[in-house]
């Protein structure tokens, strides 16, 4: 009997779909990346270290494309304190920067780190990150952010998270859609929502605590709001026709979205406090994919009012509308980086769909990717990288490209297809 029960439990455990974990493959970096040695951090807690903090930091810096972390086998010493640093060892191997550190604590851990300029032979950064041991990997990403800022002058976006949808087709059974949240490096993936019906268009609230998305769980599309810490969710719209493309306003008070309840798809703004909808566009064409400008005064969106989809901008107060894209016959799903200048979009050229950037002031469009089925671009909060969905070897994967097109990496799932990435805003103080 016991054996039967264990068998049943095993069968139940095996029947659970595998969580779509992401792995990183770097495909292109800059020509002359900065050499940095991230020496394994000392661990003074009980047992063995729960996380290889130095490896997580080195991976972050490698992924930026701007750094070439030194392999551990090539390190001539493994200092964990300043007194153990011999600059000459690092200079002979042309290492430009050296990062060492220590991790201590129990249920609350502390990560202390020191960054040295090998050629100047001096320490240039000392830092400490503290938090629960379960978040040790996030503490490592915070240290990466500080190091990255020290060396580039740009705020790091490693201690952020990503949302994505994992899809698994199961012959003879229902399709499986999983809305996942993971660290920006794809690690620590957690399930947010699972359904046999499509889930799409996940979007972050500006404080990163809540998300909105479209779920077909009622066999019709509806927009939901979901609190990531409590797991509480609420259906916001359930109109006849389209309920899609939710986009949180920068002040967090309203959601722009697409509804077709009054005929064709148009943009609406839902005030979350009063629950009142305001119709923003009135056009028989398709209006969709709203994205807020950082100042919250206007939205950019896709419309095919000119015959083919192009990007337009509308002032949310006056309704004044202008067309932003003129290059090519197909541009869609645009969003603007925090600088308010760099617009990322999907651009069709020669029957292929690429991720492209357009400078809103200079109006020049530059294609960043060479793959053919790219979509859902999402810009990192520091504007450095664009995460997007594409196909590789017939499978849906996530990939990232720097806004200058020189750095590329892929985040394929170990199983099934992944799609619809959404990069979180900054989490916590800089």
């Amino acid at each position: 009997m016991k054996r039967v029960l264990i068998g049943l439990f095993l069968a139940a455990a095996l029947a659970l779909p595998v969580r779509a974990e992401l792995v990183i493959e770097i495909t292109a970096g800059r020509d002359n990346p900065t050499s940095i040695a991230v020496v394994p951090f000392a661990w003074s807690g009980w047992g063995s270290a729960p996380e290889d903090v130095a490896a997580a930091i080195a991976a972050d810096l490698l992924r930026s494309g701007q750094f070439a972390p030194v392999a551990r086998a090539d390190m001539l010493g493994l200092p964990t304190r300043e007194s153990e640093v011999y600059y000459r060892d690092w200079r002979t191997t042309n290492v430009e920067y050296l990062l060492i550190g220590r991790v201590s604590g129990g249920s609350t851990v502390s990560v202390e780190y020191e960054l040295f300029d090998v050629f100047k032979q001096e320490g240039i950064l000392v830092g400490r990150e503290t938090g629960p041991v379960a978040d040790l990997r996030m503490l490592a990403h915070r240290a990466s952010d500080k190091v990255y800022y020290q060396l580039t002058g740009i705020r790091g976006a490693f201690a952020t998270r990503i949302l994505y949808v994992a899809f698994t087709r199961r012959p003879g059974a229902d399709d499986n859609y999983q809305l996942m949240v993971a660290d920006a490096d794809g690690a620590r993936a957690e399930l947010v929502l699972e359904s046999s019906q499509p889930i799409l268009s996940p979007a972050w609230s500006p404080d990163g605590n809540q998300i909105a998305y479209v779920s077909f769980e009622s066999t019709r599309p509806a927009i939901y709001r979901h609190d990531l810490s409590t797991g509480q969710r609420e259906r916001l719209t359930n109109f006849k026709g389209l309920n899609g493309a939710p986009a949180w306003s920068p002040d967090g008070n309203s959601l722009a979205m697409v509804l077709s309840r009054d005929g064709s798809p148009d943009l609406y703004i839902l005030d979350l406090a009063s629950r009142k909808f305001r119709r923003l566009t009135r056009h028989y064409a398709i209006e969709t994919e709203p994205a807020w400008m950082p100042d919250g005064r206007s939205l950019i969106f896709t419309s095919d009012r000119g015959g083919r989809p192009q990007i337009y901008r509308i002032d949310v107060v006056t309704g004044r509308t202008e067309r932003l894209t003129y290059e090519g016959s197909w541009n869609a799903r645009a969003s603007v980086a925090a600088d308010g200048r760099t617009m990322v979009l999907v651009h069709r050229r020669n029957d292929a769909f690429h991720i492209a950037v357009q400078d809103l002031e200079r109006e020049r469009l530059q294609i960043l990717t060479s793959t053919a089925l790219d979509e859902s671009p999402s810009v990192a909060p520091n504007g450095s990288m664009v995460l997007y969905a594409t196909k590789h070897d017939g499978r849906g994967i996530l990939a990232a490209v720097s806004v200058d097109g020189r750095v590329k990496f892929r985040l394929p799932s170990r199983e099934g297809d992944v799609r619809e990435p959404a990069w979180s805003p900054y989490m916590g103080e800089p």
């Binding site: 499509p198 799409l200 077909f216 599309p221 493309a245 798809p265 969709t288 896709t302 083919r308 017939g394």
Partner: protein, 180 residues
Amino acid sequence: MNQLSVAGKALTVIFAVIFMIGCASTETTDTTDAAAEAEARRAAEAQAAEQAAEQAATDRHAKAAQQTLQDAVAAAGYVVYFEFDSSTLQPAGREVLDAHLALAKTNTKSIRLDGHTDERGTREYNMALGERRAKAVADYLSVNGVASYRIEAVSYGEERPVAYGSGEANWSQNRRVEIK
């Protein structure tokens, strides 16, 4: 007394005769009514049988007609296909819809139209494109006599392909409206 008794006898006879006549006439009437009734019953039965036969024939014809319409729908299929980035009904699609129209006019069932696109392009734009396709089909049905309250158009965009994989051979199967 004798005269009285004679008169009384005569009266008796007269009464008896009247009675007898009465009885006889009553008997004659009864016989006629029963025959008519039976006749009427037979006629009614015959008529009912005839009507039933007629009804059965009508039913048979209706059923056969319904079956013909259903066969036509089954032969036409439940899917209408579209060109890339287009919601214009093609001649083949109209033929499919005409078969469904003929059947839909004989009943009051509700019709759900699921619009789909291929994987190219962006998801929310495709969601809108799928709806436009479903609405193109809905418009064709309602213009041709199906009450619009019976029709619901739902778009799945590119989320529910029938042919997985890339290339026009797959894409052309996915750009569709399914009639349910």
